[in-house]
């Protein structure tokens, strides 16, 4: 991929992160960075600490050691809604949609940080409140068009099939207009056609909106195809970091995935 033209400065730097739950070390001294506009993949065998890493980035887990610098601001502890306010959005490995709400309402929740009209005006639903709802509806409709989910706009998401739910969840994250989008296994459990659709959406998001994306994925074909740089984790440690080609040739990575020959 000729990525140089659109990839900018470091937007997120993860520095010496260690995280443990009781005696279990989930992450140990992990450091890497993400540049603005790139697609960064995190791969690794099961239990390598990939999801924990995402949870640390968006403030859901608090690492015991290390620092995270996002858009020039360094922090050690932060609440998840503060991460959202700074421009980090994410999807989950096990879909975390609001099942009782329609597709449209789910996407509208993504706009909540952009909505400013006060409580009283909302209760009266006059003037500014009405205009604000319509303005954000228009934005959300663009995402609905983009993700091709027009037909299920008013359907409660609990009734949608799995693949569509994944798409709605991506839409909800996009509705927040994030600077950094974290995708936790966006293609898990999909057939190859759905995977291709999802890849197309991810690449389009990245190119059209310039959104920086960090994704976890198990499908190596997908990862090597769409990502600019890859981080490999194994047992909570950083195993390799580099372009897909470099990572593919890395002996430590090959050992981790295929098993090393011990003398």
């Amino acid at each position: 991929m000729a990525g140089e033209r659109r990839i900018g400065e470091v937007i997120l730097a993860v520095d010496q992160i260690s995280l443990s739950f009781g005696g279990v070390r989930a992450l140990e001294n992990v450091s890497f960075d993400v540049r603005r506009g790139e697609i960064r993949a995190i791969i690794g065998p099961n239990g390598a600490g990939k999801s924990s890493m995402l949870n640390v980035i968006n403030g859901f887990y608090h690492p015991q050691e290390g620092r995270i610098t996002f858009k020039g601001q360094t922090r050690t502890q932060m609440r998840t809604h503060e991460a959202a306010e700074q421009g980090i959005a994410r999807t989950f490995q096990n879909i975390a949609l609001f099942k009782g709400m329609s597709t449209l309402d789910n996407l509208m929740t993504g706009r909540n940080l952009k909505m400013k009209v006060n409580f009283l005006l909302q209760a009266l639903h006059v003037g500014p409140a009405r205009r604000e709802e319509i303005a954000h509806r228009e934005f959300v409709e663009r995402i609905i068009d983009f993700l091709e989910i027009q037909a299920v706009r008013k359907v409660p998401v609990g009734r949608l099939p799995y693949g569509l739910q994944k798409r709605v969840e991506l839409g909800r994250a996009l509705a927040a207009e994030p600077d950094l989008l974290l995708l936790d296994e966006p293609m898990a459990g999909m057939n190859s056609e759905e995977k291709e659709d999802m890849c197309r959406f991810i690449l389009d998001v990245n190119e059209e909106f310039g959104t920086t994306i960090v994704l976890i994925e198990h499908d190596m074909g997908v990862v090597m195809d769409i990502s600019d740089r890859v981080v490999v984790l194994d047992y909570g440690r950083l195993l390799a970091d580099g372009s897909p080609d470099e990572v593919r040739r890395d002996q430590a990575v090959i050992d981790a995935y295929l098993g090393a020959v011990h003398d």
Partner: protein, 358 residues
């Protein structure tokens, strides 16, 4: 024309997001309001207003409040009676302390007092959920009942411990107290319910409501998308308690006339909870249907034997009434666990593709 959504094409988001996107819905609601405001006061007698319609409105208001909290925000509360008591006693204090204040203002102020108390007892919701929260709100119910019983200041040191609605006028018409006519009290209650129901509907279709439902459906995801959990939950408690407080004030001033804390006991909390469950959690319409079911069916059952010409001993009739009522509740919950409002929604979906089911 048939009543259905199919074939209605909207060309603007404004039209699509209207309160009632289906024209027939709109006409129907307007017709109901017109009948309720104009026809009912002329034709209904004292018994109908006092025993049926005013309690229905009072409980609709309380059910609306609880539905916002439990149905939309997913926080179970058994403190409804307590919050209603706050509304009733604070209106009493305000109305007797400031006799010149318009009574509607006193209603709204006491609603705000109830909201503050609701926030206070909503704080545990930040850490606990479900049944445990229900028990925590039960504490609110018992504490508030106890307080209004034991602190004489709240009932102006009256020796009997009861509070009596003082006569107050609005626009020159007596609206509360023993002199107020049932029609006037009914109209005031109806106005309050109509206005606050509209406000509730507006809230739940906007950002506030989406925040509540997000917290209800998946609190972690709600926080990650940027809703602050404590603010969202406490707002739900505040708004819900406001509605319950106004319901309590209506109950004392527009329905009962005088009351003790017994009128706002744990039984009331349960009754309102049943209304919300039977009517439909997470539905404004459901609050009304539930309130109607719980308040109107017993009235109907009481009068039914006379209507068909049966005469039976009063105690036997009372027993049969309770049995049928209990049976009906079980029946409706089995037929549709999501409440009466869901039945209506299903009917609507069926109509959409009738007569060509596929």
């Amino acid at each position: 024309m048939l009543y259905r959504e199919a074939g209605l094409f909207k060309t603007t988001y404004t039209a699509d997001q209207a309160l009632f996107p289906i024209p027939l819905d709109r006409y129907f609601v307007l017709a109901v309001l017109a009948v309720a405001f104009l026809v009912v006061p002329l034709v209904a007698n004292e018994y109908w207003l006092q025993a049926v319609l005013i309690p229905f409105l009072v409980f609709s208001m309380a059910a609306l409040g609880l539905n916002l909290l439990t149905g939309y925000a997913g926080q179970i509360s058994l403190g409804t009676g307590g919050f209603m008591a706050v509304g009733a006693y604070m209106t009493y204090k305000i109305a007797t302390g400031f006799p010149d204040l318009p009574i509607v203002v006193a209603f709204l102020l006491s609603g705000l007092c109830a909201a503050a108390v609701g926030v206070l007892f909503g704080i545990p919701s930040l850490r606990i959920k479900g049944f445990y929260l229900a028990v925590a709100t039960l504490a609110a119910q018992f504490f508030l009942s106890w307080m209004f019983n034991k602190v004489p200041w709240f009932y102006n040191y009256s020796p009997s411990g009861t509070v009596t609605a003082p006569p107050r006028t609005l626009l020159g018409i007596t609206v509360t107290g023993p002199e107020a006519s049932a029609e006037v009290r009914y109209l005031l209650a109806l106005t309050l319910v109509a206005v606050l129901a509209l406000a509730a509907k507006n809230l739940v279709r906007g950002r506030v409501g989406r925040g509540w439902m997000a917290i209800r459906d998946m609190d972690i995801a709600a926080e990650i998308i940027g809703f602050r959990p404590y603010r969202t939950k406490l707002l739900a408690f505040a708004v819900s308690s406001f509605y319950c407080g106004v319901a309590g004030a209506m109950s004392l001033f527009l329905w009962l006339g005088s009351a003790e804390t017994e009128a706002f006991s744990i039984n009331v909390s349960f009754q309102v909870l049943f209304m919300v469950i039977i009517g439909g959690l997470g539905s404004i319409l459901g609050s009304f249907l539930g309130a109607a079911f719980i308040t109107l069916v017993p009235v109907f059952l009481t009068n039914a034997p006379q209507l068909v010409g049966l005469s039976m001993p009063v105690d036997l009739q009372k027993h049969i009434e309770l049995m049928i009522f209990g049976g009906l509740i079980v029946f409706f919950l089995i037929v549709e666990p999501h409440g009466l409002a869901r039945l209506w929604q299903i009917a609507k979906e069926k109509l959409r593709r009738w007569p060509f089911p596929y």
